[in-house]
């Protein structure tokens, strides 16, 4: 039983991170029906920028650890917001109205550009997340929880709650939902679709940046290529929850994290040690395939026909 609880906790942490990234995919898809494949790279950039800024601040010295972390996070978020805005401006807006394959290709191109940019700036080696705090470990019913894990889950849930409030209770959120239902109609009601689309990319990128920092803090590492797999899994989470659906991305992210962790935890014992926990990644894509075959609209997704 303790392995179950342990993997559930690990899955929740992983799932919170997936969910934050999945929101970026799902919000953009909801409005533009575009899969922004560069989003995983924005997440990677968030991690790299945070580590770089913290490294610079630490070597300068004199600042308390918490301030270093806050500044690193702030730098990651703000630079990624600019990045998110620019990606849309440069790679997608000129192709608005083009056949859907065209922006998909530029999305992949954008992701390669970002990967290579990161590689040129920081090189091919792993960057290590500086050890700022000694993590507290708690024991609970035979399972271990660290303070970092708690922090990740609490922060992720807070951000998701804030996003739901923004989408459902504010003027900007209303404009986003209206634009998602019909960009043309929203325009005819006085909403500038381009402004809404820009904000969508900016908000998604900010959440992605936070998730990137979480991943690198959790594993202690960051790498120019980390955005690829992370992005694919978050995309899977978005599909699992129903792409285009904000609450779906949150649910899908959490579920995917838990499925992966439980899968990784049990695959060894169940196959008598034949398959090990390094098969973890298989579960995400197995889920993706199963969803696409049996319920492509996702758990909370609506039929496409319901768009007004």
């Amino acid at each position: 039983m303790d392995i179950f609880l342990q993997q559930l906790i690990n899955g929740l942490v992983l799932g919170s991170i997936y969910a934050l990234i999945a929101l970026g995919y799902t919000m953009v898809y909801g409005i533009l029906e575009l899969i922004n494949f560069a989003h995983g790279e924005v997440t990677m950039m968030g991690a790299m920028i945070c580590i770089a800024v913290m490294g610079a601040l630490l070597s300068a010295g004199g600042l308390p650890a918490i301030v270093v972390l806050a500044l690193g996070l702030a730098a990651a978020i703000s630079i990624c917001m600019v990045l998110g805005y620019s990606i849309e401006r440069v790679a997608y807006r000129p192709l608005r109205g083009a056949p859907r394959l065209a922006p998909l290709i530029t999305a992949i191109g954008m992701s390669i550009v970002l990967q290579n940019t990161a590689m040129l700036i920081w090189g091919k080696q792993y960057l290590t997340f500086p050890k700022l705090f000694e993590p507290q470990r708690y024991e609970w019913a035979g399972a271990h929880v660290t303070s970092l894990q708690i922090l990740i889950v609490v922060l992720a849930i807070t951000l998701m709650g804030a996003l739901l409030l923004l989408v459902h209770r504010t003027r900007l959120g209303r404009a986003m939902r209206a634009t998602a239902q019909s960009p043309e109609l929203a325009g005819l009601m006085g909403i500038n679709p381009n402004t809404v689309i820009s904000f969508t990319f900016i908000i998604g990128a900010a959440l992605g940046a936070v998730a990137g920092v979480m991943v690198s803090a959790y594993y202690g590492l960051a790498h120019y290529y980390m955005g690829f797999l992370l992005g694919l899994k978050a995309f899977t989470a978005a599909v699992l929850g129903g792409i285009g659906n904000v609450a779906g991305a949150m649910l899908g992210g959490m579920l995917l994290g838990i499925i992966e962790s439980l899968g990784a935890g049990y695959i060894g014992p169940l196959t008598g040690g034949f398959l090990g926990s390094h098969y973890q990644d298989v579960f995400a894509f197995f889920v993706l395939i199963v969803m696409l075959v049996f319920r492509p609209s996702g758990l909370l997704g609506e039929r496409v026909g319901e768009r007004a």
Binding site: L166, R171, Q181, G187, M189, G190, I191, A308
Partner: protein, 262 residues
């Protein structure tokens, strides 16, 4: 009966020499007309005459190939749809277009967008001004729902409203943008006699409250009862304009509707 240039100066909405081609088809050719402040102006004509195209040009969905559209002093032609709304012209649609998965209240609140400011910072920090603005939006939206008579359905999804109520909701949403001119594309389509009478009463109230109305309508009685002036379009050309009673007896109009037999 061509509107002279000096008459146009007093017009709230003025079209001058507007043309729009689709491939080889002249959907609108050289249409000029003016809607005076405070009037209800009808636009009639056989199916395919170019009425909805004219609406789409006026509201910025299409840009005219030739000609200009003005609202008061400001130029509308060349504006994007959302800019047209900002300048004071709102519309409804022939085939109802609501945000189907939002509540009736939210649909109207979307209409308030152009007259409010709160941006992303306000949304995140939700200061006093943002909250005050948000509650003002909601209050105004409730008022408008009551004004058009669907106040009791505020919390229902738009797609669950009856057909007649959806039409009224569209009007409430358009009014939420504080328009000077409200353009209605067949608001009585599919309504029964009672609903049409209620609509007529509503539109008279809207006009009395200072909103000028441009109306496309097939219901001849409604047009005759409601409109101060009408223009008749046929094959993209304006073939008549004037008081409803004059226009209905115009031989050119009768021929357009009934064909050569008349």
């Amino acid at each position: 009966m061509t509107p002279s240039a000096k008459a146009d100066a007093d017009m709230l909405l003025a079209l001058q020499g507007v043309s729009k081609q689709f491939g080889g088809l002249a959907a609108l050719s050289d249409v000029s007309l003016g809607v005076a402040q405070g009037e209800i102006y009808g636009l009639i004509g056989p199916n395919g005459a170019g009425k909805t195209t004219l609406f789409n040009v006026v509201t910025g969905l299409y840009s005219p190939d030739h000609g200009v559209v003005r609202l008061g002093e400001t130029l509308l032609s060349g504006c994007k749809p959302h800019e047209v709304v900002t300048r004071g012209l709102a519309r409804t649609f022939q085939n109802i277009r609501l945000f189907a998965n939002m509540t009736a209240l939210e649909n109207v609140m979307v209409g308030r967008h152009v007259r409010t400011q709160a941006g992303v910072l306000g949304a995140i920090f939700r200061g006093a001004t943002t909250r005050a603005e948000e509650s003002a939006i909601e209050r105004r939206a409730h008022e408008l729902l009551n004004y058009v008579g669907v106040g009791t359905h505020a919390q229902r999804l738009a797609r669950h409203l009856s057909y007649g109520d959806q039409r009224r909701l569209e009007i409430a949403r358009a009014l939420a943008t504080d328009p000077q001119l409200l353009a209605l594309d067949e608001p009585a389509a599919g309504m029964n006699a009672i609903e049409t009478a209620a609509l007529q009463e509503l539109l008279q109230r809207v006009r009395a409250d200072g909103v000028t109305i441009l109306l496309i309508e097939h219901d001849v009685r409604l047009v005759m009862d409601l409109c101060d002036r009408v223009a008749v379009l046929d094959y993209g050309k304006k073939i008549a304009e004037g008081a409803p009673s004059t226009v209905r007896n115009d031989p050119v109009v009768i021929e357009a509707y009934l064909g050569g037999a008349a």
